[in-house]
C-alpha cells in the first residue's frame, strides 16, 4: 500500500513536470553537482568530515516506477580529501583506502524499496578495498525538471554507514571511528 501511495505521489509529481518515461541520467560531474562526503567519530571528541572529489556514475529513474530505479557509482578513492595533506596521504595508504591496490570503490544497486513519499531504501553491492558487501542507502528524492540551460535534471540524497573492519581496513582508530557514514548527493542530467 505504501508503495502504491508513494508511486502515485511521485507519479503525480512527474505529471506536473511533464515526463512519464524511465530515463537514464549521468551524474553531473562536469558542473560539480554531486557530492560524496564521509564522516566518522574522532575518539569520541568530535566528528571528522571528508569527501571524495573524483567519482562518476549513472542512474535510471522514472517517478512513476521508483522501485525500478537503478544506480551505479564509481569512486576514485585516491581523490580522498579531508583538508589535511598528511592525513589524506595516510588515508590513501594500505592502512585505509589502499588506493594503489584498489583504486576504485563502487556501488551497484540491486533493488529499490519505496518507503514513503519521496523516500526509498536502495539496496546494493558496495565494493571497497577489494571487498564487496551489501549495503542499504536511505535515499530521498529531491526534485526533477528542466533546467534553464536546455537539460533535464533529477536529484537525490542518500546516507549509509559502513564498518571499516568489514572492508579489511587494517588501521585501528578506536571504537568512535569503527563506523563511517557516507552522505551522497547526486544530481543527474538526463542523457
Amino acid at each position: 500500500m505504501k508503495k502504491i501511495v508513494a508511486g502515485i505521489a511521485l507519479g503525480s509529481l512527474m505529471a506536473v513536470s511533464g515526463s512519464l518515461l524511465a530515463a537514464d541520467y549521468v551524474i553531473d560531474k562536469e558542473g560539480q553537482h554531486a557530492f560524496i562526503n564521509f564522516k566518522t567519530g574522532h575518539m569520541g571528541f568530535s566528528v571528522l568530515h571528508g569527501r571524495f572529489n573524483d567519482f562518476d556514475g549513472t542512474f535510471s529513474w522514472d517517478a512513476a516506477k521508483p522501485e525500478e530505479s537503478k544506480v551505479e557509482v564509481t569512486i576514485n578513492t585516491a581523490s580522498v580529501d579531508s583538508n589535511h595533506a598528511e592525513r589524506d596521504k595516510h588515508l590513501r595508504s594500505p592502512d585505509f583506502l589502499n588506493v594503489d591496490k584498489h583504486p576504485q570503490a563502487t556501488f551497484v544497486s540491486t533493488g529499490v524499496e519505496v518507503t514513503g513519499e519521496n523516500t526509498a531504501r536502495v539496496t546494493g553491492d558496495f565494493t571497497f578495498n577489494g571487498v564487496t558487501k551489501p549495503v542499504v542507502i536511505d535515499a530521498q528524492f529531491i526534485g526533477e525538471g528542466e533546467d534553464p540551460w536546455g537539460g533535464y535534471r533529477a536529484g537525490f540524497v542518500g546516507t549509509t554507514s559502513i564498518k571499516l573492519a568489514d572492508y579489511n581496513v587494517s588501521m585501528d582508530l578506536g571504537p568512535a571511528s569503527a563506523v563511517v557514514d557516507l552522505d551522497l548527493t547526486i544530481e543527474g542530467v538526463r542523457k
Binding site: 585516491a78 595533506a85 596521504k89
Partner: protein
C-alpha cells in the same frame, strides 16, 4: 684546534658540522621509519612527526651553513697517498650525498605542505607552504622521500666503508682528520 680548516687539517666547525649531519641523518631515518608505523593511540603519534619535521627543517639550515662554510674556508688538500680513482669517487659520493640530502629535505617538505598547510619549526614559527597542489604531490613526494632516504643510507654506508678502508687498510689519516685527531705519522715521530 682551529675553527677554520687549514691546508692539512679540518677545523672544528667543519668537523662538528660533519658529525652533526651524520648523526641527524641517521636519527631522522630511524625516527621516520619508526613513526609511520605507530598506532593511532601511541603517545608519540603526534610528537614523533613533529620532531621529525622540525629537525628536518633544522638540518636544511645546517646543510646550507655547511656549504657556505665550505666555500668560506676551503677544505684541506687531498692526502698525498690518495689515488686518482679514490679522489674522483670520493668527490662523486660527497656531491651525491649533498644533492640527495637536499632532495630528501625538499620532498619531505612537499609532503606536509601539499595542501597549503605550513610546517611548525619546533613550535616556534611556521614555515609556509610554497608549491602546492601538484598532481599526487604528497604521494609522489613521499615515495621520493622514502627511496632517496634509503639510497642516502646506502651511500653513507659506502662513504663510511671508504673511511674505514683508509683508516685500517691504507693506514692513512683520512678518518683521523675528520675526527680531529693528530696525523698518525706525526704521532709516530713524536714517540
Amino acid at each position: 684546534m682551529h675553527w677554520k680548516n687549514t691546508a692539512t687539517r679540518y677545523g672544528l666547525v667543519a668537523i662538528v658540522l660533519h658529525w652533526v649531519v651524520a648523526v641527524t641523518v641517521i636519527g631522522l631515518a630511524i625516527l621516520g621509519l619508526w613513526m609511520v608505523d605507530l598506532s593511532y593511540y601511541s603517545p608519540y603519534y603526534r610528537s614523533a612527526p613533529f620532531w621529525h619535521k622540525s629537525i628536518g627543517l633544522a638540518l636544511f639550515a645546517v646543510l646550507v651553513l655547511r656549504i657556505l662554510w665550505r666555500l668560506f674556508t676551503p677544505r684541506p688538500a687531498h692526502l698525498p697517498n690518495h689515488r686518482r680513482w679514490e679522489r674522483i669517487s670520493a668527490a662523486l659520493v660527497h656531491a651525491l650525498l649533498y644533492l640527495m640530502l637536499f632532495v630528501i629535505l625538499i620532498s619531505g617538505y612537499l609532503i606536509s605542505t601539499a595542501k597549503g598547510q605550513g610546517i611548525s619549526f619546533f613550535g616556534w614559527f611556521e614555515v609556509p607552504a610554497t608549491l602546492t597542489g601538484l598532481p599526487s604531490q604528497a604521494d609522489r613526494a613521499g615515495q621520493i622521500h622514502y627511496w632517496m632516504a634509503m639510497a642516502v643510507l646506502a651511500l653513507a654506508g659506502l662513504h663510511a666503508l671508504g673511511a674505514l678502508k683508509h683508516h685500517f687498510l691504507d693506514r692513512d689519516d683520512t678518518l683521523r682528520r675528520m675526527l680531529g685527531l693528530r696525523p698518525r705519522h706525526l704521532t709516530d715521530r713524536q714517540e
